[in-house]
Amino acid sequence: MLRVEGVRQRYRHGPPVLAGVDLACDPGVPVVLAGENGSGKSTLLRIAAGAARPASGSVRRPAVVGYLPDRFPARLRMPAEVYLRHLAAIRGVPAAPELLDRLGFSGPRREPMARLSKGNAQKVGLAQALGGDPGLVVLDEPWAGLDAEAAETLLALLVTVSERASLLVTDHTGRAARIAGARHVRLAEGLVREDPPGPADSRAGAGAVTAPLPATAIVLRCGDPEAVAQRLGVAGRCTGDRLHLQVPAARADALLLDALRLGCSVEMVGPA
């Protein structure tokens, strides 16, 4: 449970970045925060997580918080697993190094992480934020730098996490639109307003019974169609080794690319 009430923040010589923000976030209803560059999303997330104090206003949050900052540092001196152990100990929760495996971390684990790739650093940051059953998870651009496979895994992880924890997330990749049951809000001119994704910018069509038009019909052939549908985050009809999908046309290319990466072969593509 997260309650942000009347939070104001401004930087010197500038207009207020946050001008009395109210935001509530509960388990089961993830909140996706949108906003333009420099609109103060990261500032709000820092305050919500407890990394910074607001000039005025109040924030109530659970005891154990997972926070992924924008640009998680790629140069930590400790090996990834040692870092995760320390952070878990500071939170007072068991360490969860298996999250590195799930996210497909491919960097060194027991050697100091002199300089990790952007993606691997992001995976360490995600593992430290999501591990240990936090009551609130605050993620600033969690998909930044992730490969397609890790991005899908993260989506599935977030769905699981948000069942038990309040989840507040920003995203520029459009993947957050596929978090089922999420509440979409937008930060503009220092205030947070409801911002339900319209059909035009719904790049997902996740589980949508009535796919917005124009739609594209896709038939994929793969070993385990149900697992692939889950990985792609779309609802589809499975017959034998085939997966029949209908997705918004704007989303079709990205989905095909993801499907090919997952080892599917494309049998048919056409207008629905």
Binding site: A49, A51, A63, P73, H86, G125, Q128
Partner: protein, 208 residues
């Protein structure tokens, strides 16, 4: 408290890997080696010089400790610890542990390396004098860590240390050194004052 200890363990490990804290520690060892390498004379007077060295060394060490993490990494640690308080307290614990280590080394060195012995009361005087200088240095280092640029930190730190170390009447460090020169006097008050300064500077550190 367990969070503070966990933060302290993490910061100590991180600082050890960064190796920046090794430079001031090595400096103190170099001073001890030169000071007690020849014939320094009877104790406790020679400890005055090692106390004088420990003061800026402890300030440097505390400044390095407070700035080991980069700001984004620090924000993650603060969130994990549930606020800046445990992180500041953990930093203080590591700094005090380093002060204690250097204090014991500085006091023990001449007892081992030179023919001069010391009564338990003199040894206690030496320990307290080093501790007073170490804790005050920690306070100065933390206060300097609040300044926005390392150049300002350095300038302010050097001036504060130079001015306060050479006033024989001024507790904690000036008084500690003059007590060693006369070989008498109680240092409990300077040590208590130094501890209060270090704790006060830690409270300031929470605000960063």
């Amino acid at each position: 408290m367990t969070r503070t200890l966990a933060v302290a363990r993490y910061l100590a490990a991180d600082a050890w890997r960064s190796q920046r804290v090794l430079i001031p520690a090595a400096l103190q060892l170099a001073v001890l080696a030169v000071l007690f390498g020849g014939d320094p004379g009877a104790l406790p007077a020679p400890w005055g010089a090692s106390v004088l060295a420990l003061y800026p060394v402890a300030a440097w060490l505390a400044l390095s400790l407070a700035q080991t993490e980069d700001p984004i990494q620090r924000s993650v640690t603060v969130v994990a610890a549930g606020g800046p308080g445990p992180v500041a307290a953990g930093t203080l614990l590591v700094a005090v542990a380093a002060d204690l280590l250097l204090t014991v080394l500085s006091v023990a060195w001449p007892l081992v390396a030179t023919p001069y012995g010391a009564s338990p009361a003199t040894v206690l005087l030496g320990l307290l004098a080093h501790l007073a200088a170490g804790l005050t240095g920690t306070a100065v280092g933390f206060a300097c860590a609040l300044l926005p640029r390392i150049g300002w930190s350095l300038a302010v730190g050097v001036i504060v240390v130079l001015v306060t170390a050479v006033q024989p009447w001024l507790p904690p460090v000036g008084a500690a050194i003059s007590a060693l020169e006369t070989g008498s006097g109680s240092l409990l008050v300077p040590v208590a004052l130094a501890l209060a300064l270090a704790v006060g500077a830690t409270a300031l550190l929470r605000r960063t």
